[in-house]
């Protein structure tokens, strides 16, 4: 039933994500590497939550668990009450690298999710909608190596959104873009989120990005990641970067992260 779905009829497809007492470690043969330590987060349907923490602290692992690519060593994750055991196109992960399939054109990359589920024929129009949404109509037949970093990341986001995900997991999606492109992309992501209403979980190490986009910012410690703080950002969009409340929040978050406020 989810497959026959068309976003034009029914906006606000989203889900409630429950992360309950999740710990995770990687087995490195001679030793184990703990990456997550007793993490519990409840994400409301349609909420935009940012996970903030130092690079390599284990936030990305949490996204992989939420995507169903891996199972946690301890604890559980569920979507709308159902345990997450497998990857599902309802929960899509966008990586730091666009990871486009280099042998497919932009159009076919965006269509790959529909193709994989065998619904491409019925939903062909969605591909064109998404091309328009991410403003890449002119590049439909280009190959990934012909795109700039920002364009590639837009394709990656379109490839995720074409499946009408209920949950979009974003793993530092703008981390490798230049700062100007990053600003535009943040604005675009916010618009897409408002238009389509998915639940969003964004991993970032950029305090400003977290404050600009998220309803709630969760701060993680260094590895193994524990939750050290949680901040609600009760500011309506569009937010201004130099808003005094946001600057206050920024200062306190940086302190939480162990960076002195005069940085």
């Amino acid at each position: 039933m989810a497959l026959a779905f068309s976003s034009t009829e029914d906006r606000n497809r989203n889900l409630q994500l429950e992360i309950d007492g999740v710990s995770h470690r990687y087995d490195l043969g001679d030793r184990t590497l703990p990456v997550l330590d007793d993490v519990s987060i409840s994400v409301k349907p349609g909420e935009f939550v940012a996970l903030l923490g130092p690079s390599g602290c284990g936030k990305s692992t949490l996204l992989r668990l939420a995507a169903g690519l891996e199972q946690p060593s301890q604890g559980s994750l569920s979507e709308d009450g159902t345990p997450i055991t497998n990857p599902d196109p309802d929960r899509i992960l966008v990586f730091q690298d666009a990871t486009l399939f280099p042998w497919l054109t932009v159009r076919k990359n965006i269509a790959s999710g529909l193709d994989a589920r065998g619904v491409l024929k019925e939903q062909q129009h969605r591909v064109d909608e998404l091309l328009k949404l991410v403003k890449l109509e002119g590049f439909a037949d280009a190959y990934p190596h012909q795109l700039s970093g920002g364009m590639a990341q837009r394709v990656a986001i379109a490839r995720a959104l074409v499946n009408d995900p209920k949950l979009l997991l974003l793993d530092e999606p703008f981390g490798k873009l230049d700062s100007l492109t990053r600003l535009t992309m943040q604005k675009e992501l916010l618009q897409l989120w408002k238009q389509t209403g998915f639940t969003a979980l964004l991993v970032t190490h950029d305090v400003e990005e977290a404050l600009l986009l998220a309803d709630r910012v969760i701060v993680f410690s260094d590895r193994p990641a524990r939750i050290v703080a949680e901040v609600n950002v009760a500011k309506p969009h569009p937010r201004k970067r130099d808003d005094s409340d946001l600057l206050d929040l920024r200062r306190s978050l940086l302190e939480q992260l162990g960076v002195s406020h005069d940085v």
């Binding site: 992989r64 899509i92 042998w103 193709d115 190596h145």
Partner: protein, 331 residues
């Protein structure tokens, strides 16, 4: 001065304004081919070769053609680009014919039967063309049956080896063991296993072409960036999608390296394969004539084989460029 420069960059007016000059390499080529023709025709042969007069005529004809082209080419700059590109080669081939002619037929420094002048090869083509044609046909049948079955099995095996850990566990050591075994070492086994020698020959060609394809396909599938699988899995891909729409296209550049190797190996093994009781075929022709010290025939057949192989390599390049056009700019 500036006017001249500007005209050099203009396209339409170029022909009209630039002083007309013949194609230099064309003239040189005409000269070298003309020399080859003159050497062939005017100097006496040490021993009699039947086709000397004919060869001289053909070379002289080509020299005249090149001379004509040297004056036509400047008028049609664009359309003859390929021809112009190979200009230096045309000159070199003329020189090569002249030198070859001198060393073999005219001076006798490279004696019969070990060496043959170009007219010796021409003579083979004239007198033995029917048999050569039949041989080409037989070889084409053996080669295509062997090569295509070999690469098909090799590709499937390679995907399985690269994808499945248990396939790799059992298959890789076996592949590494049989890979370096020379084709002729298989002959006793194949005689026993296959009901006919023709099937045994097909097997040898298939083996020679299958092994490089299998090894490189397996390596290619094994090297696919894991992130592609993660992406595809979150997009809802099934295992067959992961294999056929992610692993296979991602490893295609490797597969083509294997195909090129397969092509060369399959040609190299033809001679051995046609040792097994074949009655016709280029490989058989090579052996038969080597046994009779008819080296002119051997060279004549080798040239045919080399040309066919080069043609097939060219075809494979075209196919690769078509299938891997997404790589343009990466390579």
């Amino acid at each position: 001065m500036t006017d001249v420069l500007r005209n050099d960059f203009g396209t339409v007016q170029q022909a009209a304004f630039r002083p007309w000059k013949p194609w230099r390499n064309g003239l040189l080529a005409a000269a070298s081919w003309g020399t080859a023709a003159a050497v062939t025709y005017l100097l006496p042969d040490v021993i009699n070769w039947n086709a000397t007069g004919l060869f001289a005529t053909i070379v002289a004809g080509i020299a005249l053609l090149l001379l004509a082209l040297a004056f036509v080419v400047p008028l049609s700059d664009k359309r003859t680009k390929t021809l112009q590109h190979y200009g230096p080669w045309l000159v070199a081939i003329g020189v090569w014919f002249a030198v070859w002619e001198l060393l073999t037929a005219k001076l006798g420094w490279l004696p019969k039967p070990f060496f043959s002048p170009p007219q010796g090869l021409l003579n083979v083509y004239i007198t033995d063309w029917e048999r050569l044609l039949v041989c080409v046909g037989y070889t084409a049948r053996l080669w295509s049956l062997g090569f295509f079955s070999g690469i098909a099995v090799g590709f499937v095996a390679g995907v399985a080896l690269g994808w499945s850990k248990s396939f790799a566990y059992w298959g890789m050591p076996v592949l590494k063991l049989i890979g370096p075994v020379p084709a002729s070492a298989w002959i006793p086994c194949t005689f026993f296993i296959f009901p006919s020698t023709f099937q045994a020959s097909i097997f040898l060609v298939a083996l020679a072409s299958g092994i490089p394809v299998a090894i490189l396909t397996a390596a290619g599938v094994g090297q696919v960036n894991r992130a592609y699988y993660d992406v595809a899995r979150t997009l809802g891909a099934s295992t067959s999608y992961l294999i056929f729409k992610v692993a296979v296209p991602a490893s295609l550049p490797n597969v083509f390296v294997g195909l090129f190797m397969a092509l060369y190996y399959s040609f190299a093994v033809l001679v051995v394969a046609e040792m097994l009781g074949a009655k016709f075929g280029l490989g058989w022709y090579l052996q038969f004539n080597t046994a009779y010290s008819a080296y002119a025939n051997v060279y004549a057949a080798l040239i045919i084989m080399a040309l066919i192989c080069a043609g097939l390599v060219r075809l494979l390049f075209v196919l690769r460029d078509r299938l891997l056009n997404w790589q343009k700019g990466i390579l």
